[in-house]
Symmetry: C2
Amino acid sequence: MAGAVQSVVSLSKALPMNGGNGLYSYANNSTYQNKAIVAVKDLITEAIAEKLDTSLSSSNTICITEMGCSVGPNTFVAVQNIVEAVLNKYQNLVHDHSRLPEFLVFLNDHALNDFNTLFTSLPPDRNYYVAGVPGSFHGRLFPADSLHIVHTSYALQWLSQVPEEVEDVSSPAWNKGRVYYSSAGDQTVKAYEDQFAKDLDCFLHARAQEVVCGGLIMILVPGRLDTTPHDRVFSNISYDILGSCLMDMAKMGITSQEKVDSFNIPIYFSSPREVEATIEKNGYFSLERLECLPLEKSQDTIQQKARAVSYHIRAGLEFLLKEHFGNEIIMDELFDSFNKNLEKSQVFELGLTYSLFALLKRKTTLID
Amino acid sequence: MAGAVQSVVSLSKALPMNGGNGLYSYANNSTYQNKAIVAVKDLITEAIAEKLDTSLSSSNTICITEMGCSVGPNTFVAVQNIVEAVLNKYQNLVHDHSRLPEFLVFLNDHALNDFNTLFTSLPPDRNYYVAGVPGSFHGRLFPADSLHIVHTSYALQWLSQVPEEVEDVSSPAWNKGRVYYSSAGDQTVKAYEDQFAKDLDCFLHARAQEVVCGGLIMILVPGRLDTTPHDRVFSNISYDILGSCLMDMAKMGITSQEKVDSFNIPIYFSSPREVEATIEKNGYFSLERLECLPLEKSQDTIQQKARAVSYHIRAGLEFLLKEHFGNEIIMDELFDSFNKNLEKSQVFELGLTYSLFALLKRKTTLID
């Protein structure tokens, strides 16, 4: 297994992320993901060295997709890792290096992603061809049998939607007084868990058509141990603190209680057992490897850490917050308050942070 | 040959076009191209019916690229034409319609193109997969042997750069006092003609690597008859009028004579003989068809036509003008003056407008 990741938190990537290059842009607030990606480099290299079948491509082109690419720069690091690992493998096999494969890399994210920023920040000296693919990875995006390697990093924790029952006043899963599931009742948690499983199944079903037999999927997603309670996950505690800030604003009359009740963050932190069960039930892929990687505590001060978390969550959630609360809530005020409450909280002592790494291989037949 | 195109002018498509959906956006000022595209529908359908080899693709996917796509909507009309023509051909050949091919369409334009607008305006009910490819089509953009059909419409008239000697004060081709070649001296015209030939050769050289043997390239480009003098081409007259407006502004001290001298519009209107010579010299493609399509006069009033031309040229050139003249020139003033001078001119009586349509097939060997 790769060395433990040198980061305090595994924070999440929203759709769409804040675009451009400003203070609260995703591009300037995604160092946590970057640390996680660097740490799994060895896992990716091993996966390709051991599990990639070099006879997969009928042409001389390897087609790779990076799903949930956002606006970079992390996505370019991940892509370069994969391309180098494949090249290394071929260099050991092919004597005539003019016969090394070419690479076509499809960078995918929602159609509202800032592809303009992504395309103008592509590494100029890259050794692969690039295309951008707009659309949800929960559905089909590519022709049948057109992909050899799929990589997705810090994206699958985003649910395709808030579970319907969580927003249904008549349901026992209704999430009154909170904006997140982690300190909610069992039925709310179950609704989130089911939505994650359903979304992962949709993702795998679509990829099963698109990935050639023997092709690989590498998933990196923030998660938790099977034994970690939801309310001990670092990010979950943070989202609950954000929820309490919103409720304070409702009490002060800045927004309404109803608005807070009907806002829910569509993110879920799964465990290895949950991921494995969904892959097995889906049936199209064999699970070749599943790791739960702890992320080490940072040595920064509480103030530095609170600020980083606040900026990071703002980059991910600002779009959703503005869409729901409109101009009622001033983002600077909300995140100032969030920052202060993070500093006062015990999240930096108590919060646990793990990333899950899963390596899947497309079965040749369903009896594999 | 397809019926004559129902449009008064063949105007050009700049890189980058004005993005978004505003008054001067390309999306709202590209009806001329649309008319031309609709008119060549029959030519495209015939080309595919007669010249496309249905054994080209080793998988069940047809890969198409639309080069110089800008932000739509014209590009979607062109793509739909091509996809339908291919499907029609296969439907006549394949009895089991579940075996019909799938389509992956690569929409290409410069990295500064507004891909965000393009991606959010994709037809929701399309029967093809889409990827955006940022970069200059004068160079490589795709892996070897990865494309079956290339289509480019109203894009190749844009030169990769203003010919160097045209901007060189010490060269006999220096274009002092003008912003365009069409009423310039022979050496300036020759420099533009050579640049067009060089750019087309680069385009064909790159495509020769990317297109499978037997694959097709369809080029639609505004041009002229072999016998049409440059200064009788509708768009050329218009650009000369725009140049005279800029020189008026220099005389009024709004900008400097030097700024006007060093600004040149990187567009060239070629003739069938020039296009044919370049394709032959390049050598990778056989020229299967070459048509020069006249565009009919519109029935609009002079005022309507002048306004449309003014808006259209603004959508195409505003980026370049702003880049060169900065804030010295107010665009509204320039194009008001341009509009008035168009109305007073004889361009609508004298200007000639043609589109060239070329169908090329990738040779199997260079001896073909």
